[in-house]
């Protein structure tokens, strides 16, 4: 008999299910966008932009879902910072610890790519970043 029959369920419910769906969506979009960015042709550019535009909002919602699911949402930062010593909290052998850091780093990358797309399309209000021509419709 498997030893797992004696464990209790952690009761990760629909918030976590939604997180996995959106996390997969964000990760998949970003992964494909990066491949097309590196190896694709210029025709692929609209799709690259679309995927980058999807990835960052999706991963933002992921973070929110995970935080709301915690028993004490205001302590979400305890995953990243040791709450007594304020040192970085990383455990290489804890999947959730690694996952927290991976999510943070991925969010950072997704944010930069998101901003880059906005700048490329000229949708940024801040002039130095708004390199593209403003107001041009999003098209292929």
């Amino acid at each position: 008999m498997s030893s797992t029959f004696f464990t209790a369920a952690p009761h990760w419910r629909w918030l976590i299910v939604a997180y996995f769906f959106l996390g997969g969506l964000a990760g998949g979009s970003y992964f494909l966008a990066t491949l097309m960015d590196l190896f694709g042709k210029s025709e692929d550019r609209p799709l690259v932009r679309l995927a980058y535009l999807i990835a960052f909002p999706a991963v933002c919602v992921c973070g929110l879902l995970l935080t709301v699911d915690l028993g004490r949402p205001e302590r979400f930062w305890h995953m990243l910072v040791q709450a007594q010593t304020f040192r970085p909290m990383i455990k290489a052998y804890s999947p959730m610890s690694i996952g927290s850091w991976a999510l943070l780093l991925f969010s950072g990358c997704a944010f930069l790519s998101f901003v880059a797309v906005l700048a490329e399309r000229g949708w940024l209000p801040w002039p130095p970043l708004a390199a593209g021509s403003p107001g041009r419709p999003f098209s292929g």
Partner: protein, 260 residues
């Protein structure tokens, strides 16, 4: 570091009075189930049902009958956190809220836990649960606050039959061996110790004397750490990523701009 401390629970002298449960709840100020509006489980005298965030001691009642019900036996066992020497909960906790104390026990610091519930699934014994009042994962602390000032845990103090014994692991092991010898002499040959040696998660600091298979008591015969899955899971993740990556490369290879 102080000497490793723990429990030796001799289930053969447990009378199922639940004094340990009451003492534990009172000392640790644990809330009532469902605001005090409990229901009966219909499962023998067990209305506690399980160990969780508000039940840190749980007396199990196991009724065994022969097929014609002429013979019967009632096993009682006060279950508690095993304070494993290699603890699954301690291993996975991403906040560092779960610590090993100077008494070699495992304690969840409630002011640091953020209620992610990873430890609940990682515990091979199903000991941990969320306390709805604190919103954090909680379990037996082996009365860390009492041990700090030299007192024994509330449950062991309250146990009227010395089924729950508290002490140093060295003393408890001697006590358990003596009791085993006594039971052998009286003809109770089914008795054995569960979790007293290092083969089970490096040793359980709360170990048991049982007279039937572990499964009968709802205990895993061969508990494992969650980290046993890490290597295989990592390999499969990488394999999955490579397969998806190759598939996407090949499927986009011949695509022109027209069909995007």
């Amino acid at each position: 570091m102080a000497e490793p401390m723990g429990f030796f629970t001799d289930t053969t002298v447990c009378i199922g009075c639940k004094a340990c449960e009451v003492a534990c709840k009172e000392w640790n100020q644990l809330p009532a189930t469902n605001g005090g509006h409990g229901t009966l489980s219909g499962d023998s005298y067990d209305n506690t049902r399980q160990l969780d965030g508000i039940h840190w001691r749980h007396v199990k009642f196991i009724e065994q009958f022969s097929p014609d019900r002429s013979q019967g036996r009632w096993l009682m066992m006060s279950d508690v956190c095993k304070h494993c020497v290699r603890a699954g909960c301690l291993e996975v906790c991403p906040t560092g809220a779960i610590i090993r104390t100077e008494f070699d026990t495992v304690v969840i610091q409630s002011d640091m836990c953020n209620g992610c519930r990873d430890c609940i699934g990682a515990c091979p014994f199903g000991v941990i649960g969320v306390n709805p009042v604190s919103g954090t994962a909680q379990k037996c602390t082996l009365c860390y606050d009492r041990m700090k000032v030299g007192l024994e845990p509330a449950c062991a103090k309250a146990c009227p039959t010395k089924s729950i014994n508290f002490g140093t692991i060295v003393d408890l092991k001697k006590m358990a061996q003596a009791r085993m010898g006594q039971l052998q002499q009286t003809g109770e040959t089914r008795a054995y110790l569960y979790g007293d040696d290092e083969s089970m998660l490096g040793g359980l600091n709360s170990f048991y004397l049982l007279v039937d298979k572990p499964q009968v008591y709802g205990l895993p015969p061969d508990p494992q750490l969650p980290s046993r899955n890490l290597k295989a899971s990592a390999v499969w993740s990488v394999v999955g990523a490579v397969v998806v990556g190759l598939m996407s490369v090949f499927s986009f290879r011949n695509r022109g701009g027209g069909d995007v």
